[in-house]
């Protein structure tokens, strides 16, 4: 019973840090604690897996969305503009 309560408290704390952990925004000490908890807690492991899949899916989807194709065209123009800027003027111009 006491172990269950402690586990629940740990889950609550880890739940607050899970997304920071996913984004690499935690201090190494806290990050290690989250890692250790995820190794043994099924529920938090599922939670982390879900957020991790969402992040990966967004990254994969970005290559397919029409908005991003539009972005790629705009980026191509901007890169060309940057090249022309470097080619035709000095930074003091």
């Amino acid at each position: 019973m006491r172990d269950n309560l402690r586990e629940m408290r740990n889950c609550h704390e880890v739940g607050q840090w899970l997304q920071h952990y996913l984004d690499g925004e935690l201090e190494p000490v806290v990050s290690t604690q989250v890692e250790e908890h995820l190794e043994t807690c099924v529920r938090c492991g599922l939670e982390f897996d879900t957020y991790s899949r969402i992040k990966t899916a967004l990254h994969d989807a970005s290559a397919l969305s029409p908005e991003l194709i539009e972005d790629q065209i705009a980026l191509h123009r901007l890169r060309r503009f940057a090249d022309e800027l470097v080619g035709h003027s000095g930074p003091d111009a």
Binding site: Y51, L58, L75, A82, P91
Partner: protein, 189 residues
């Protein structure tokens, strides 16, 4: 703390062009995404990034080489404020108004279909997020920005970045649960 020298003095090769290519060009995708949020318009966003590039090029010789993304976001934000002030001087008195503005790939066909359904559901869910929340999720998950960089880009406190990111992802997760694409045992935190 020791003050950093401008990048060109430190490198000693006088190559402004090399510094420009090294620090500015790789950040164009992140700049364009933030510009879209600020301008709410694709054409204006591209113009804003172009102006930002010009300003960055002119000041590259004084840039110290530290935190190029944060440096560029500052230029972008200031350029945006100046452009709006010129266009709508009476409507833009407060600079804080700017704010309004694990690899799962598989070769198994069944798994690929499942991944595709999951991805489509994530895309559908993020499209329903409020714009302010959506751009935070996109900057962190697509452009790999740090929380501090997003805060700098959007002129919002880092706590706001975290809360918008968490609420945005939770919204996406809830939609996935509703569609049966995520185990219901996943907590609602």
């Amino acid at each position: 703390m020791m003050e950093q020298e401008p990048i060109l003095e430190r490198d000693g090769d006088g190559s402004a062009d090399a510094a420009f290519h090294r620090y500015v060009v790789p950040e164009l995708p992140a700049l364009l995404r933030v510009a879209r949020t600020l301008t709410q318009n694709s054409h204006d966003a591209e113009d804003l990034v172009q102006d930002t590039i010009i300003r960055a090029y002119k000041s590259i010789t004084t840039f110290d080489g530290a935190h190029p993304r944060a440096w560029l976001f500052t230029i972008l934000r200031n350029t945006h404020i100046n452009r709006n002030r010129r266009r709508r001087p009476d409507l833009f008195d407060d600079p804080s108004d700017v704010e309004t503005i694990a690899d799962h790939r598989s070769s198994d066909p069944a798994e690929l279909v499942e991944q595709s359904a999951f991805r489509d559901a994530v895309v559908a869910a993020i499209a329903t997020l409020p714009a302010k929340m959506r751009v935070v999720v996109e900057l962190v998950d697509l452009e790999s920005c740090t929380y501090a960089e997003v805060a700098m880009a959007l002129s919002i406190p880092i706590g706001t970045v975290m809360s918008r990111l968490h609420r945005g992802r939770k919204h996406i997760k809830d939609q996935l649960i509703a569609k049966g694409l995520v185990n219901k045992k996943v907590s609602s935190t």
